[in-house]
């Protein structure tokens, strides 16, 4: 990766063009000239004036300052950065699908209908839910949709006082945020010493004002919520519903079905569990599945047309490749990889909860050696930045909030033993550096296109556009 310092707008030269439009075939005289004066744009349209080759080189240069799953190991916790198969891309790009208008009569689209139907069946089979809606465009959007379904159910029964939702303190930040957007009041339930939802803390929170509980299982510490059966019973007895945050579904893929655990509503992140690329932050897809009694509420209109169709195509391609033969390995291998790293690094990094993990686990920073103070060691941020120097993406840092130095590692099943061993070797190397040359970490990265930016000044005096 090398530093490249241009913005496309800086390459602009008046008169240069990069487009190709037909030059004859005019239907009438200039229709734009006859626009009313009050409706015309008065100011110049400040867009780049560049040639096609300028554009290609510029964005190729930009791409070379980026790290993707195809570049190297990406152990970003809770993000499930598995390999994105290339056949998915080929199918999603089929011109036959790209050219269809979203409002075209469904009766003329037997093929597309079949894809949605079969995808619905496949996800139902994998999760134990009854049916899915594909309108949500991302995981958080799925959460919001699922909560809308939860509220719709209670409202349909005239049960209007259920306006609270219980969210564990270890939940993804999107959970409480989605609940707030859905007009729900958030009640936090604390995790116990073992990192799991504490049933005794939950019990007193349950009453007839509770719409439901949002849980991710395994939770954000990568720990399976063992008391799920009792939690489900208690919530259901109190008249609430269980929402499953599918962000952590990967270790259960082919092993456990959320529907069987008593969850009533769930979303899946197709861009995590089902191998579709993250695209630098989207487009994703967050289909929401429900149990049978909630199917009538599935039609909630949360996005413009039919959801992120190319993402659904990619995920369906992945499911077809996986088939019933390979699906049972997916979650198990993801869990195997995570436990292998955890066991290999626990001598050098502080493991706050010693338990078998699922697809991910959390260290609480470096482990202090004799005579050292944990607070004086390089931080999790420093470790993360140093990893970049060694050609790895950093794990998720400072999440979950339960620990001060959270370092959350999720390897996924697509990584080989050799890749994991290399990562483990580098993490040990960094731990040694932390004790012997801490400054090396505190000023890292040293081999990336840029070094650490001054984010404070950037936030105090925001410059958010090119001028």
């Amino acid at each position: 990766m090398k530093y490249y310092d241009k913005l496309i707008l800086e390459l602009s030269k008046p008169g240069r063009t990069g487009y190709s439009l037909r030059q004859n075939d005019s239907c009438t005289t200039d229709a734009l000239a006859s626009l009313p004066e009050w409706g015309k744009r008065k100011t110049d349209v400040c867009l780049p004036e560049v040639s096609e080759v300028d554009v290609v080189r510029h964005y190729t240069n930009l791409s070379q300052m980026n790290f993707g799953v195809d570049t190297g190991f990406y152990p970003l916790g809770s993000c499930t950065m598995k390999y994105n198969p290339k056949i998915n891309e080929e199918i999603a790009a089929m011109p036959e699908f790209q050219s269809i208008h979203p409002l075209q009569d469904k009766n003329t689209l037997e093929g597309i209908r079949a894809i949605f139907d079969e995808m619905d069946h496949a996800l139902a089979a994998i999760t134990g839910m009854s049916h899915f809606t594909f309108l949500p465009c991302a995981g958080a959007h799925g959460e919001l949709t699922g909560l809308m379904i939860m509220r719709s159910y209670h409202m349909s029964r005239g049960d209007l006082k259920r306006t609270k939702v219980i969210v564990p303190d270890s939940a993804h930040g999107t959970n409480p945020a989605s609940a707030a957007v859905c007009g729900l009041e958030i009640v936090e339930v604390k995790s116990g010493e073992n990192g799991l939802v504490d049933v005794e803390s939950l019990r007193p929170l349950l009453d007839d004002t509770v719409a439901g509980i949002m849980m991710t299982n395994p939770n954000t510490l990568g720990l399976f919520e063992r008391e799920i059966k009792q939690i489900a019973e208690l919530v259901h007895e109190a008249g609430g519903l269980l929402y499953y945050d599918g962000a952590n579904m990967n270790p259960l893929l082919g092993v456990v079905r959320p529907g069987d655990m008593g969850f009533d509503i769930m979303h899946l992140n197709l861009h995590k569990t089902f191998s579709t690329p993250h695209g630098g932050g989207g487009p994703g897809s967050g289909p929401v599945g429900v149990c049978e009694k909630l199917v009538p509420f599935l039609g909630v209109r949360v996005s413009g047309y039919n959801g992120n169709f190319p993402v659904i195509l990619r995920a369906y391609t992945y499911i077809l490749m996986l088939g019933r033969q390979h699906i049972k390995q997916a979650g198990r291998l993801a869990t195997l990889n995570a436990n292998y790293i955890k066991e290999s690094l626990r001598d050098a990094y502080k493991l706050p909860i010693d338990s078998v993990c699922k697809h991910e686990f959390v260290f609480d920073g470096l482990k202090e050696r004799e005579g050292e103070n944990h607070d004086e060691l390089p931080t999790t941020l420093d470790v993360a930045k140093r990893l970049l120097d060694y050609g790895f993406h950093a794990p998720t840092i400072y999440f979950p909030l339960l620990f001060h130095q959270s370092l959350m590692i999720e390897p996924t099943e697509t990584e080989s033993l050799e890749t994991l061993d290399d990562f483990i070797r580098v993490m040990h190397l960094i731990a040694d550096e932390a004790h012997t040359q801490p400054e090396l970490l505190r000023t890292a990265p040293h081999n990336c296109p840029i070094s650490r930016p001054d984010e404070t000044t950037a936030a105090r005096n925001p410059k958010l556009r090119y001028e």
């Binding site: 400072y398 984010e455 404070t456 936030a459 105090r460």
Partner: protein, 126 residues
């Protein structure tokens, strides 16, 4: 170690209050600014906005955190310190010299619920 200025009143949510002629001058404690780290933004209300005691009136932001500000007394905002809006680092530099809002108090007896410097020191463990 953070400093606690004598002669001010404090809320449990770390705002300080100084009273002058029925006007409550409100800022945040040194402890609060230290907890935040480099403050990047101070979100303030408009003059004439009305707040209940303990209602949220604004927020402090840093790069990676955000902390709400709660009005220690009920009343109407009469003045906002535009200097700290323009230069949030002033709060880091001296939390007691740089107030955030001034509120015309609706009920001076609410001051009795606030902590004095000694009690606040105890609260923050210093």
């Amino acid at each position: 170690m953070s400093t606690v200025a004598e002669g001010l009143l404090y809320s449990k949510s770390h705002e300080w209050v100084k009273v002058e002629d029925g006007i409550a001058i409100i800022g945040v404690s040194d402890f609060a600014q230290k907890e935040m780290g480099d403050i990047t933004y101070v979100d303030v209300p408009d003059v004439d906005d009305e707040f209940e005691k303990e209602e949220e009136f604004g927020a402090l932001e840093s790069v990676k955190a955000s902390s709400d500000l709660y009005c220690p007394v009920s009343g109407v905002v009469v003045e906002v310190n535009e200097e700290v809006v323009d230069q949030p680092e002033l709060v880091n530099a001296d939390a007691y010299a740089n107030w955030i809002i001034k509120v015309k108090m609706a009920d001076e007896s609410e001051l009795d619920d606030l902590l004095d410097a000694a009690a606040y020191k105890e609260l923050i463990g210093e």
